[in-house]
């Protein structure tokens, strides 16, 4: 009956109980939906970032920190061979490729655009690289003065596959160099910024243009994203043991966009969760205070029958507990249902800075259900503490005197 009495007490005023359950449930449902959306969006951005940066990159720290003198951060061929030997021995690394990035000025007719040139090994399965060639073809191992550019850049310059553009750059020695390049293909990428600024060349031709045999980074693809951080720690230990003065960085460290957006999502969800919890807390506090006050005489009766103050406190708290568990569980159910409907409708929109519309989706799973359940349940349960404590401190005589 210690379980039954609070449950029946909760249900005695059905309208008020339903209202209370609805409030707790609404709070949990909102949290399920928002958290599901945040998780789905975070997963989407994570995938975009991994596509752009690979899971891990290995380079000299000065490449990323921006304090290098000229091209001193380049990795010489003999070091590259040693790194490749180490990577071949790692079970998580499924592919790796060397890259060489440098700035250049691209001209087509009277149009010019500052670009980030990336020399890649054509045919190497390791990313990053162009994701979807929309016009023409990708780079082939036999290509030389060939280039693959983003759709946005091609549009800006008014060129397409088959056109010839001119790339001007500064070599590692500080000399100017220029080369005509044939556009073999145009690619699409999730980020408009990437499409507008990135140019892919065969690595050997990029090295020749820059007058170096080195590369500036190794890009690694792992068998799963979750292995990124453990693999980084393992590889970093190997690099340190070999005294290579190189650093392994993860995709999330390399992508400032992901970090910023991830923090923004955390703040967004945190704010909504807190606001919802506070709202649920205060509404349920009012409802339970009223509900308990109406039963002051009943509290006096059970105290007179021999229930201790602690017993009254536990009994009323258990009522809050039932409200918390039932309301929050129902809310999670409603939230999941709402998410399923939302996903089935498939609303599309084009986020700022992207070229393709994305389908809005809400992640559904244990991780998106558990936190909202605990949030709603905790808010409702805690709201019972104060009125339960107040009722338990009443004297028996005073409680019995209430009509």
């Amino acid at each position: 009956m210690s379980v039954l009495l609070p449950l029946r007490s909760l249900l005695r005023n059905r309208r008020r109980s339903l209202l209370s359950l609805a409030i707790v449930g609404l709070g949990s449902a909102i949290a399920v939906f928002v958290l599901g959306y945040v998780q789905e969006s975070r997963a989407l951005i994570r995938q975009t970032s991994v596509d752009e940066y690979g899971n891990l990159q290995i380079a000299a720290p000065s490449l990323w920190d921006g304090d290098a003198e000229g091209y001193e951060y380049l990795i010489p061929p003999q070091t590259l061979v040693r790194i490749e030997d180490r990577l071949a021995a790692d079970p998580r690394v499924v592919a790796s490729t060397a890259q060489l990035q440098f700035p250049g000025l691209l001209a087509a007719g009277d149009q010019t655009q500052v670009v980030r040139v990336t020399g890649i090994v054509p045919g190497n399965p390791a990313l990053p690289g162009p994701q979807e060639v929309s016009v023409g073809r990708g780079l082939d191992p036999g290509d030389n003065a060939a280039v693959l550019m983003g759709q946005a850049l091609a549009d800006r310059l008014g060129v397409s596959a088959g056109s010839v553009v001119t790339l001007t750059l500064t070599t590692v020695d500080g000399a100017y160099n220029a080369s005509p390049l044939e556009i073999v293909g145009v690619f699409r990428f999730a980020s408009e910024q990437v499409e507008l600024q990135t140019l892919f060349l065969p690595l050997r031709y990029a090295q020749a243009l820059l007058n170096t045999a080195g590369v500036d980074r190794m890009v690694l693809t792992l068998d799963r994203v979750s292995a990124t951080w453990a693999t980084r720690a393992r590889l970093q230990a190997t690099l340190d043991a070999d005294a290579l003065l190189l650093e392994a960085r993860t995709w999330d460290e390399l992508s400032p966009f992901y970090q910023q957006l991830s923090n923004l999502f955390d703040i967004l969800f945190g704010f909504i969760a807190l606001a919802t919890a506070v709202l649920v807390f205060f509404i349920i506090l009012q409802v339970l205070t009223l509900s308990f006050l109406e039963r002051t005489r009943e509290v006096g009766t059970v105290r007179a029958l021999g229930v201790t103050r602690g017993g009254v406190f536990s009994m009323l708290l258990a009522e809050g507990g039932w409200l918390a568990v039932i309301g929050s569980a129902a809310g999670v159910g409603v939230g999941v249902l709402l998410s399923l409907v939302f996903n089935a409708v498939g609303i599309e929109w084009t986020p700022p800075g992207t070229v393709e519309p994305v389908t809005l989706a809400v992640s559904i799973g244990l991780s998106t259900a558990l936190a909202p359940f605990l949030l709603g349940a905790a808010a409702a349960f805690l709201s019972a503490v104060l009125p339960a404590s107040r009722m338990s401190r009443l004297t028996v005589v005073d409680a019995l005197r209430v009509e």
Binding site: M1, R297, V302, R303, G306, L400
Partner: protein, 246 residues
């Protein structure tokens, strides 16, 4: 609860005793003397009725001897235990194990059935379920409500509710039952049935009964009548009233 009357008048001290019991209330700047220097004793098997006008101190006296209130001065001894020396939790335990209370307005828990209401004090005593069930069914049969065990209080008549309240007060086998106007909400016939039951339990189980009432018909059942005026007890008051038909 003894099964017969052989223990009704045990050797030794009174089961309930008050010494110089005084209770005052502060109402604004005025001190109200609800009870003044009340000395009272009840032996095992006593059946006392207490009457007096409104505001005379009846309910205050009942509250003090049922250990739900503390005196301003003086002491209450229940089964030799001075309530003034007990903590809140100890007093709760004393009420749970020793005292049965019947309230004027029944005070049944509305969300529990008749049987569950009667079972409630046994749960507080943590008795095993089979024993609880046996005692509840026996007690409900005894008050004539065996058929209505599953009904909630709002599905019972006033008399039936009062009988449930009496069953609840007796099921834990208390040594003392304190009842405040137990028949006030009952018609005369139901009131008579309730009092017959009360007298039978008093005689069969040696339970101390102290009943507050204004009803002469109830007073007629008592072995002892006590009046209360201006916070003072007057032994034997009301003896002139007619005895009840047995």
């Amino acid at each position: 609860m003894p099964d017969d009357g052989m223990f009704c008048y045990e050797a030794g001290g009174a089961f309930l005793e008050t010494r110089g019991l005084t209770k005052t209330y502060q109402v604004g700047r005025e001190t109200v003397h609800a009870l003044t220097d009340v000395d009272f004793a009840a032996q095992q098997g006593d059946f006392s009725v207490l009457n007096g006008p409104s505001g005379s101190g009846k309910t205050t006296f009942l509250n003090l001897i049922s250990a739900i209130d503390r005196p301003t001065r003086g002491e209450v001894l229940i089964a030799g235990i001075s309530t003034g020396t007990q903590t809140d939790a100890q007093l709760a335990a004393l009420r749970r194990t020793t005292i049965g209370l019947v309230f004027q307005t029944f005070n049944l828990i509305p969300v529990l059935s008749a049987a569950e209401n009667v079972e409630y004090p046994l749960l507080l005593q943590r008795l095993p379920r089979p024993e609880r069930k046996l005692r509840v069914s026996t007690m409900l049969e005894e008050v004539g409500l065996g058929e209505l065990a599953r009904r909630r209080p709002n599905e019972l008549s006033g008399g039936q509710r009062q009988r449930v309240a009496i069953a609840r007060a007796l099921v834990s086998q208390p040594r003392m039952v304190l009842a405040d106007e137990p028949t006030a909400n009952l018609d005369s016939e139901t009131g008579r049935q309730v009092m017959e039951l009360t007298r039978r339990l008093n005689e069969e189980h040696c339970v101390v009964f102290i009943v507050v009432t204004h009803d002469p018909a109830v007073a007629a059942y008592a072995k002892r009548r006590i009046g209360i005026r201006d916070g003072r007890l007057i032994e034997g008051m009301g003896d002139e009233r007619p005895t009840a038909a047995s």
